[in-house]
């Protein structure tokens, strides 16, 4: 369907060829001036014919119709016009064109006051621009994969085929990628019957018959990266992939090749003359492709304008097909043999003839032609104007490796400025435009690449295919005489004209990289494939320097646009990253838990027994723990088994406090610093035997701490006899907390002696219940009497259910992460929000923990004067002073009466409603910390325009003497 009308085409058609065959020549409106545009090219270099494909969530804007393979059910529409391309109100802008030169937006909309650009920008963006993306979820499936090969051949034209054949004949595994739907490259544009096509068919058959060649069609090499890694994009639209069957629409492939052969060919350049953008003006090679490959008459009366031999082949094919063709070659002298060949098929040959301006508006109707040595300007009528300004090797990919292209005068174009190790050029990309020379270089590249991968050539060099040849010469494009009139476009997609280039030159933006940014030349979705070299030629002429001196731009990936979907692959939604589930996960779901993401973990947020939403539930869960007993899952804590003779010494080094004297049967709270003295993590370590320790870390820092301990043991302290192993997944953890915790344990696990004498505060014991090991640590995060129980993960659910069932009479219930975090705020325990790798031990009020009589990681840099300065932002408690207001995390703290501006004196890190105090409380960092205890301050939250009064207090809001812990 094309714009709600059915469209007929043939298999093998592109959207562009089908539309041309249906008589549609108006492909869209231009970006800035809304000028009518047709199809300039027949391939990836197309700047004009950008369409929006698909509907709803499948909408893909800005797709070149010239590379869109036609398939049944394709839905397409033109863009950048309202109400329609055929009648576009925006075209009124083209009447203002003299007022819209390069830099116009910057100059006009920047003043008179700051912010002007912000005001104007949305309007400008709506008037200009391309297709629109949609907000719906894309229902298609995208994938990513890795692939490996010896030799990757990029490009399936004659050079790519010849290179693949040579490399495979030498024994290398070969992957041949071609962005098109067929192999053959430029040969596909040759007449559909004849010797050349027979030869192409035979070469393709020979390559496909080789068992060690994999051919990937509809696959674009988008970027080349270090280590001969190439990003490929496979497209499967033509198969109409069904996501429900697991079929991917696009696959992003990371190809690891040992060697790369670039057989990327060359692209034809436009000529620059007045109104060279009228529909019906196209590249000569494009006209030839539409004629021969797609059997479409691109016009009935053609003109071919050229400065080189290449376009003569197109002219001859057009003439043979019965299309009237005068050929206008700007060169005075053209090879007589070529002229004879053209005249033999009835072509009107004119040399020394320069097209200065096209005529027609919505379609080309003719051209003005100047003749060398004559002031006479001739008018020639036409409905198709084919142009050729020479050929530019496709050097984009070789440039991705950081090698600047170099200019070659003889072909008037840039070629790769060398190749990285293991990379080779084949054919037109290296400037070999004559077919036989291209094939020779390709066969040589194939052999060299195979050899690089360690494959000797067992049967001797493969002779290059023999084929009839045409030499190639050109003359640099000649500038149009001044006063020829019309707009001469250099960059069609971004509407950059020769006048814009002259203006950029005048205003000092003459360097190519500056020119590009000032005029936006080459910055469209086509990345200047048809415009870069013409711009460099023109700027070099304006500056009066050579091309090499004028320089070139830097090509960056991707070569052609890549959909975001393909880059994301399957990493979308909940597949964005791995999810870690506690061994108790199913139990939580069954118990009515609402789950929440906590880093990679999915944890119980609150339980529905306590309320219908988090705000209602967590305070009920807090009250349960403060008044009776609750049970929480703490399996996500990092758990590290530390063993062997030097374990005590090792722990004593990594924790700021002493661990050398920790006796078996006891646990100790400890804090670790980074080398720069910021706090890394806190946690507890229990000693269960002479050489056996069990460390826990915070959930957030578990991986970091593990890696850090391994770093120290493997790089710096290799003399220490210690082993560390992560056992996070092996042990489930649960916390039973509240004044009735001991009674609950006695009911559920009578085998365990949890009496205060046997298991005092900070005691750590191992038990066996029904043959299952249980580790019990009496320590508290909430400030209540509490025990942490660790059990092998497979027994987690059994223990959890036993605790809830047997202690049911005590009112035990599960509580979630929200209550867990709120209880610790009341007790003044720091956690992840305070341990942000910026705060020091002293900032967090933990300075007294640090041992004075031993070395520990971070000790020396902790002593730095700035880290000990009294004005540092350090930990405080905050009590809300306004009964009807609330505190908010992230609020900025100001002294009372101070202007509410700037970064303030600190900020709120953690907030909760305190069930014990009946008010909002918070932890935060404040300049000078607790030396301001008792002062009233202001908590400002500019996003909601709130200011709330609060008082600085001790962060230990409840039970400061720890009486509840020692019952």
């Amino acid at each position: 369907m094309f714009e709600r009308k059915p469209l007929l085409g043939f298999a093998g058609d592109t959207l562009a060829s089908a539309l041309l065959a249906n008589g549609l020549t108006l492909a869209g409106r231009s970006f800035k001036y809304h000028r009518p545009r047709g199809f300039l090219a027949a391939g990836v270099e197309e700047p004009n014919a950008l369409f929006t494909l698909g509907e709803g969530g499948r909408t893909t804007p800005n797709v070149a119709a010239t590379t869109t393979e036609l398939y049944e059910g394709l839905v397409a529409r033109r863009q950048n016009a309202w109400p329609s391309v055929d009648f576009d109100l925006g075209a009124a802008i083209s009447l203002l064109a003299p007022l819209l030169p390069a830099g116009f937006y910057y100059k006009t909309f920047m003043g008179p006051r700051r912010g002007s650009w912000m005001w104007y920008e949305p309007f400008i963006r709506r008037a200009a621009g391309l297709g629109r993306a949609r907000h719906e979820r894309d229902p298609d499936r995208y994938e990513t994969r890795h692939a490996y090969t010896d030799v990757l051949v990029i490009g399936g034209g004659p050079a790519g085929l010849a290179a693949a054949r040579a490399a495979a004949a030498a024994g290398a595994a070969v992957a041949l990628v071609e962005q098109d739907s067929a192999l053959g490259g430029m040969l596909l544009a040759a007449p559909a019957t004849g010797a050349l096509e027979d030869w192409r068919t035979e070469l393709e058959r020979a390559v496909r018959a080789m068992p060690n060649v994999e051919v990937l069609l509809r696959t674009t090499a988008c970027g080349v990266y270090d280590g001969n890694t190439v990003a490929l994009l496979e497209r499967h639209d033509h198969e109409r992939p069904d996501a429900g069957l697991g079929k991917a629409r696009e696959v992003a492939v990371t190809m690891h090749a040992r060697a790369i052969i670039y057989a990327t060919g060359a692209a034809e350049r436009p000529l620059v003359f007045g109104d060279n953008d009228r529909p019906g003006i196209m590249l000569a090679s494009a006209a030839q492709a539409y004629l021969n490959r797609y059997a479409v008459d691109p016009g009935r009366r053609a003109l071919v304008a050229t400065n080189n031999d290449g376009a003569w082949r197109s002219a001859i094919d057009l003439a043979v097909a019965g299309i009237a063709v005068p050929i206008l070659d700007q060169r005075q002298h053209v090879e007589p043999a070529l002229q004879d060949a053209a005249r033999r098929v009835g072509i009107d040959v004119r040399t020394g003839a320069l097209v200065t301006r096209a005529q027609g508006r919505r379609a080309v109707t003719g051209a003005l032609v100047a003749h060398n040595g004559s002031a006479r300007v001739e008018h020639l009528a036409c409905d198709l104007l084919c142009m050729s300004g020479g050929w530019s090797p496709t050097v984009h990919l070789t440039s991705h490796t950081g090698r600047k292209p170099v200019y070659r005068d003889d072909i008037g174009a840039f070629v790769p400025g060398g190749y990285a190790p293991g990379q080779f050029g084949a054919g037109a990309v290296s400037g070999e435009f004559a077919l036989s020379a291209a094939l020779r270089s390709a066969a040589e590249a194939g052999r060299a690449a195979a050899h690089y991968c360690g494959h000797a050539d067992p049967i001797g060099p493969t002779p290059p295919p023999q084929v009839a040849d045409h030499p190639f010469t050109l003359e640099p494009p000649r500038a149009c005489p001044r006063g020829a009139g019309g707009k001469a476009f250099v960059d069609f997609q971004n509407d950059v004209t020769t006048r814009d280039l002259a203006l950029a030159h005048e205003e000092g933006y003459a360097a190519i990289e500056h020119l590009k940014r000032y005029t936006t030349l080459g910055m469209g979705t086509d990345q200047g494939k048809t415009s870069n070299l013409n711009a460099i030629h023109l700027m070099a002429a304006l500056r009066g320097v050579g091309i090499a001196e004028a320089g070139t731009t830097t090509f960056r990936p991707p070569y052609t646009p890549v959909s975001i979907g393909a880059l994301a692959g399957r990493s979308i939604g909940h597949h964005f990253r791995p999810i870690r589930r506690s061994p108790l996960h199913d139990c939580h779901i069954a118990n009515g838990a609402a789950m929440i993401d906590a880093g990679p973990w999915l944890r119980p947020w609150y339980y529905r027994w306590a309320g219908g939403d988090a705000a209602a539930a967590y305070v009920n869960e807090m009250r349960l723990v403060r008044s009776a007993v609750g049970l929480a899952d703490i399996s996500s804590l990092g758990k590290i088994d530390v063993q062997w003779p030097d374990a005590a010494e090792f722990l004593n080094r990594v924790y700021v406090n002493g661990f050398a004297s920790l006796p078996a049967g006891k646990a100790r709270y400890g804090v670790m610093l980074n080398d720069d003295a910021s706090v890394l993590d806190d946690g507890t370590t229990a000693r269960f035997g002479e050489y056996r320790y069990f460390m826990t870390t915070t959930t957030a820092q578990a991986a970091e701490v593990m890696s850090w301990l391994e770093f120290l043991l493997q790089t710096a302290w290799i003399d220490l006899d210690v082993q560390v192993v992560s056992v996070t997944d092996e042990w489930a953890g649960m916390s039973i907390a509240g004044p009735r915790a001991r009674a609950a344990l006695a009911l559920a696990l009578p085998e365990i002696d949890a009496a205060d004498a046997a298991l005092p505060h900070m005691g750590a014991r191992e038990f066996e219940v029904d043959g299952v090991p249980i580790r019990v640590l009496r320590l508290s995060f909430s400030g209540e009497l509490a025990y942490e129980l660790y059990v092998p993960a497979g027994y987690a659910i059994a223990l959890w259910e036993r605790l809830l069932e047997r202690a049911a009479a005590l009112g035990i219930r599960p509580y979630g992460l929200e209550a867990l975090a709120s209880l610790r705020i009341e007790k003044g325990h720091v956690a992840g929000l305070e341990l942000d790798h910026r705060n020091t031990l002293d900032d967090l009020g933990l300075g007294k923990m640090a041992a004075r009589d031993k070395a520990y990681v971070g000790r020396e840099l902790r002593a730095r004067a700035q880290l000990q300065a009294p004005g540092r932002w350090s930990l405080v408690g905050l009590e809300c002073l306004e009964p009807s207001a609330r505190l908010r995390g992230g609020a900025i703290l100001f002294a009372r009466g101070e202007a509410l501006a700037g970064h303030g004196r600190g900020y709120v890190t953690s907030v909760t409603w305190s069930t014990e105090l009946g008010k909002y409380i918070a932890l935060g960092l404040y300049q000078g910390g607790l030396r301001h205890a008792g002062e009233e301050i202001v908590c400002a939250y500019p996003l909601k325009n709130e200011q709330v009064r609060a008082r600085i207090v001790s962060p230990m809001f409840i039970d400061p003497n720890g009486e509840r812990l020692h019952v």
Binding site: H256, D675, Q714, T715, I718, L861
Partner: protein, 99 residues
């Protein structure tokens, strides 16, 4: 630096002495391996300051730590060219000093 058919031409594949050649995404970077950490207990703050904060930024050959976090968990010392990303040999960090 090894180049050519049997070597590693880029940093994207790291030769782990235990696990063989693996994609770099299995590893975590650990900084300059030519720097020597002051012995534990060194009381000279300046030595620590240099170790923690002052780095050369060489163009070319570089020795660096990488940990095979999704493999054997070993910290390696790897040769890498910072200009070309060509990867050379790797050995276990714990075996440094021994032949």
């Amino acid at each position: 630096m090894a180049t050519g058919p049997t070597g590693n031409d880029g940093m994207l594949r790291i030769p782990c002495p235990h696990c063989g050649e693996r994609d770099y995404t299995e590893f975590r970077y650990g900084g300059d391996a030519s720097k020597i950490r002051p012995p534990h207990g060194t009381a000279d703050a300046r030595a620590w300051q240099e170790y923690v904060f002052l780095f050369d930024n060489p163009k070319g050959a570089h020795l660096e730590y990488w940990q095979h976090v999704l493999g054997c968990r070993q910290w390696l010392v790897l040769e890498r060219d910072t200009a070309t990303n060509a990867v050379g040999k790797a050995h276990l960090a714990r075996s440094q000093g021994s032949p």
